[in-house]
Amino acid sequence: MTTPGPGALPQGTLDLLILKTLARGPRHGYGVARWIEDTTDDALSIEEGSLYPALYRMERRGWISATWKRSDIGKAIKVYELTDSGRAELRSRTAEWGSLITAVGKVLRAR
């Protein structure tokens, strides 16, 4: 029931990116992909298909919620939104990520 993350990214990184993306406002799956692509200049080369299992998993955990809306072009689209518990998750993950980077940096800088 769990899905392996994309090979290029460390475990859990994709979740963090999605949470951060949604923290800026509700988006559909494509919107999330576009925002990551645009902010990173497509540097992460995420397999966009893998976004969806991540979204579904986070929805199941209650970090994000989804609603069906009608898009400008008349299609039914599913829009994801950060929940309160998702915001909390983002805060703790961001902190974790920071300390991880610091720790790894220390190791790499060590002589």
Partner: protein
Amino acid sequence: MRDDRPPPHQIDDEIAFHIEMQTRRYVAAGLDPHAARERALRRMGDIDRARNACTLISLAKETDMERTAWSQGLRQDAVYAWRVLRKTPAFTATVLLTIAMGIGATTAIFSVVNTVLLRGAPYPNADRVAVVWNSYAATGLSEAAVAAAEFADIRDTSKAFDAVAALRPQTTSLSGACGSGPGCEPERVTSYVVSPNLFDLLGVTPSHGRPFAAADGVTGAPQVVLLSDALWQRRFGADPSIVGQTITVGAVSRTVVGVMPAGARFPDAPVGFLRTPADLWIPYGWEQSRKDSRGNQMLGMLARRRAGVSIEQASADLDAIAAGFRQQYANRYARPDVQWRLKAVPINDQIVGDVRTSLIVLLGAVGVVLLITCANVANLMLARGTARRRELAVRSALGAGRGRLVRQLLIEAAMLVTAGGVLGIGLALAGVRGLIALDAGNIPLLDHAGIDVTVLGFAIAVTVLTGLLVGLAPALRQSTADPQIALGGAERTAGDGSIRHRLRRVLVVGEVTMAVVVLVAAGLLVRSFARMAATPIGFDPDGTVVAQIALPRAQYNDGGKILAFQRELLDRFRALPGTAGASAVFPLPMSGDGWGGTVIVENQPAGLPEPHAEYAVAMPGYFSTLRIPVVDGREFADSDVTGTMLVAVVDEEFARQYWPGESAVGKRISPFGPLPANDPRWTTVVGVVGHVRNGGPRKAGEGQLYLPALQKPELTLYFVVRATGSDQPLPAAIRQTVRSLDSQLPIGRLSATRALVGRLLARERFNMLLLSIFGGVALTIAAVGLYGLLAFLVTQRTREIGIRLALGGRPGRILRTVIGEGLALSSLGLVLGCASALLAAPALRGLLFGIEPTDPLTYAGIAGVLLVVAAAASYLPARRATRIDPVSVLRN
């Protein structure tokens, strides 16, 4: 916006949207569409894997949600169901009414019947207690009292019984220990002189104080008394400190040693000649009055079987004792032509009597009404299911799963049947209370009735199951039906529709059939009761008022004083304005007071059974006052006083039995034992009067013997006053007249004579009422069912009717068509119902009086009632059909 579609569809949409957007973006950037799509797909990576992963997560999530949000979903469904049910108030009310009536009526009636007929006597040892009688099979006298000597012999020699008790009723005056309020005047009460072990034998103990001890019954012991709960409540305000106080019973001061609980007022109900419930009990060891004479048979006798001894073994034991009697007193017991024996009747059979027939009939009615209820619930639910096919099809097409629909319908059905059940319970409670109020006091044990939980449970279970199963049917069918068909106006095309319509017609015909059966039974009982009430009872109670006046022995201690007062009272009654006559008697016919005994008839062969008769003492003018015909000789005159020739009046029955073919006038009898031929104490018969049905219209009763009160003064008499016009003012006038003579004198049972007499018809009336209620319920439910079906058919045919109207069809014709359909179904049900009733009616025979179970008038009457109700039930939907607006139908 919600989406109930299965997860894979949602994911596909999302991914497709993603790819499309991405493709557009690349096209906008200058790529040709094909390449743009290729690139978008490449960016997606392994779509299948993503898709599967999402599906799995969704399913897992759904399980989570089902687990956590089940209750929330239930609430949603319930709210939705509530809205749906409120939108169709007619349907909802009809189902509720049907269920409530079905459950309520069956439970209430069965509960009461169960208490009165099935549960039996409320004594812990009741199933081991039997009543022992002298039985003379050849004479029809099968439950005669027992002599003290016989009781003592059975007590000493029986092996089958571990306890025996004897008792004898007497009416006594009661005073003392109650202050001086208006409720504390001296009064007449029914006391029983009982073996001290009576209540121990029955297995009941006092609620206050102590039971009798064996020593209480010994001659010379301190005088004690036990009070009934009823007397304690009524006269002593339920004051527990009455125990230990002294009251005056008869002329004897007695210490109250205890109060019996409400459920133990032996006899609660008539046990043979022990007819009146006890107010108090006085202990006496009846074996002490064993005498050589075995003719003074006046005791009721109870015997408790040892554990493990069957009623057959007990009977065998009594037979052995009887054989001993025959040997020892051959001239008394051994006469072959009377077939004497000692008979034991289980006390439950004795109290409840021969009720098997009533029971079977009423239980049958319960079952039938329940069946009608279920048929109707099924019918209504089926109709609703059909009407909702569209809605369900839409929801199904929108992705609602079968489970979802099942749950929704289940909740709707559950809400309906639960509400109906609750209403039903309320109705049952009210019904039981109503039935008790209807006839408490006249029907044995009726006031002990409460809701029978088993039946209530059964009725609810049956109805609820029906409701749920049938309520679910549309959901189950829906899962197999193609939404396309249902959405595309399947009402006219779906093949199973006609099957369902046929099923519904069958259900309605079945309902009518069953209702007719119950109605016929009720109708037969109503007619039978009318016959019974119209049966000549031998006297005319209408227009007379009766008052029981009992003189205190202490004050009226000789015959002269008694008669002086009673004659004065009669003179004043006769002088009252608007009176056509007044006299007095004891006991009053059909009043429940009985007084029977043996009598010596001159020149009759000796041996058992001794001539036996109902006794009564009457004042001059009694027969004319109650309009009992004098067929030979004369009635009592003012000159029949002490010191003149002793006289008696007998009834036709007595005269026929002992002097067949000759005139009874001038014949001699002796009510008080054997006499030498030339003794002046022989009593001469001076008149013969019509027979009075003392035991009610069903029982012919034995011969009757009247003695003149002027020669045999009685302290207690029923004074009967006949009015010339209305008897309304008489009771007040009677009360005032008595008060003017003696302000301390208690007046008992002051009422129209008709009311006292009516009690004997109580059981019959009760049966009739119960079945009539059932009949009414059955008819109502069936009518509701018919109405529901026709209303539904009209709705289904709205289009067709609209077209017909548009093409010039006349409304009258359509009205006739719909009503015709209703009448056709009802007539079929009527025919089947009458046939079933004819088959079932012989079971009723035992309950009927004076009419045959095939009484054509009853059947015709029921047919008429049913067709009228059916026409009415059909008229409403038919009228609605004629009001269909063709224009709006065609536009839709």
